[in-house]
Subunit: 276 residues, 2 copies
């Protein structure tokens, strides 16, 4: 296929559930000419408590589904899947693939002044040490301090984005990071950009927050450009310009997705992901 | 097989994850001569956000697994699976099966004085209206008021069983039930007995809390007696008297399970439930 044909093909984005919509939001902002095929694995969420083998198997199924939708590139918009499955996926498929971990790690390694970087995320992401690995490849003397924040996802999903309870939980989770004198903090879970202001308030102005969703969209832009795959099509919103798929609970997905992106998610289709 | 042989066989108990361990705790207390085979579907938790079809399919797989372990009866220790799958399971297998919903509903319908009963649980359990259905079969004039409390499970799993944050969230969730002047409240999620004291404090002494885990163990005792299946074996703790299986994350399961039951969960085995 010629690159000119490929340019018009969509970008596949997937996550364990709804959180990857913060990455979709950034892609929509930074790459408005690109069409997106999103898959949220709402039947099998969360990935954070699952083993490497399980997450890799699920990710392979989703990639097979996205390939049936003729995507030109794949964004793994899930920290756990990026940590566990990205390297294997890269070796198996003939498409550009990027995850959310490397772009966030790269920027954090570059912007820190004192070499002390915090990472917050699920138990799986923090426990995997994946951010530390990538940060230290770039900045071997960087000290990375991880902190799992298991209540942030349910608080975000309950809509308590700005709430005294979320403030209180944030103060408990982040106190140790403040004491560690980090100057950079990675929001290492796709839900966390939605409570960015709470985290910023607790950490203080001298701590730079790194949003991997933003950095991933930036890196995707460069990647498409490098491969000559950037779309120049005019977006046609209100049609099926973007398409959303889930493995369960389409109504619930649409409701929450529309609280994240102002552009309305008009519909979402349930597909039997285990058959892929 | 003679009933005398059957009596020594274990009881199968399953849940979407860890919460069913509160039912196990009650069975251990009330039926100390019974052996338990527990399965927690930790790879596919939570069921609350999944469709009826998915939950029924998962439940069938688990029942097939439990049947390979030669159980003499099955306890569906999960409100969502009891709501969605119990009736179908009852028609499909030749073993006594009980869920957690009917026993809790029966007691609530009996103990209410003013006919106003509250039910708290996941969105799925409350949305299904299953408690209302069973309560009104017994007490057609009862008024049932449901309230989903999505943050209770993550708060319990984070260990905040007695904590100001849990108090604050409980006050928000339960305020409407207090205004509704209920005199009976069903803890309609297997995690909730662990925050029973918080719920009791917020609701006040005049509201009777119904714990379906307790009522289910009581009904199981009657059911075994009726079928002549009660075990008279002497428990041999510290051996494999009870056995625990999960679909993922055995270490995490053991850790949390041991915070629920004083009797130590020594080991848990991961099995590939999707193969059943």
């Amino acid at each position: 296929m010629e690159n000119d044909e490929k340019k018009g093909m969509p970008i596949g984005v997937f996550d364990s559930g709804i959180g990857g919509m913060t990455v979709v939001r950034e892609i929509m902002r930074q790459l408005p000419h690109e069409r997106i095929i999103y898959f949220g694995d709402t039947a099998r969420v969360p990935y954070g408590s699952k083993s490497r083998e399980t997450v890799t198997r699920y990710s392979r199924q989703i990639v097979r589904f996205l390939q049936t939708m003729c995507v030109k590139a794949i964004v793994v918009a899930c920290n756990t899947a990026s940590a566990y499955a990205l390297d294997e996926l890269e070796g198996e498929i003939d498409l550009p693939v990027i995850g959310v971990v490397k772009p966030g790690a790269k920027v954090a390694a570059q912007v820190t002044q004192n070499g002390r970087i915090g990472v917050i995320g699920t138990q799986a992401t923090v426990g995997s040490g994946i951010y530390t690995t990538y940060i230290q490849k770039i900045n071997p003397r960087a000290k990375v301090i991880g902190k799992a924040c298991p209540l942030f996802v349910p608080l975000v999903e309950e809509g308590l984005w700005q709430d005294p309870v979320t403030d209180e939980i944030a103060m408990r989770y982040l106190g140790g990071l403040i004491d560690s004198e980090i100057d950079t903090l990675i929001l290492g879970c796709t839900h966390y950009p939605l409570i960015r202001s709470t985290v910023g308030k607790v950490m203080g102005e001298h701590v730079t927050l790194v949003n991997p969703a933003y950095e991933t969209a930036r890196e995707l832009k460069e990647l498409l450009h490098k491969h000559g795959l950037s779309s120049d099509r005019q977006p046609q919103l209100g049609t099926n310009w973007h398409q959303f798929f889930v493995s369960d609970g389409a109504e619930q997905f649409i409701h929450f997705a529309n609280s994240i992106i102002k552009y309305g998610v008009l519909s979402a289709k349930v597909i039997p992901i285990e058959d892929y």
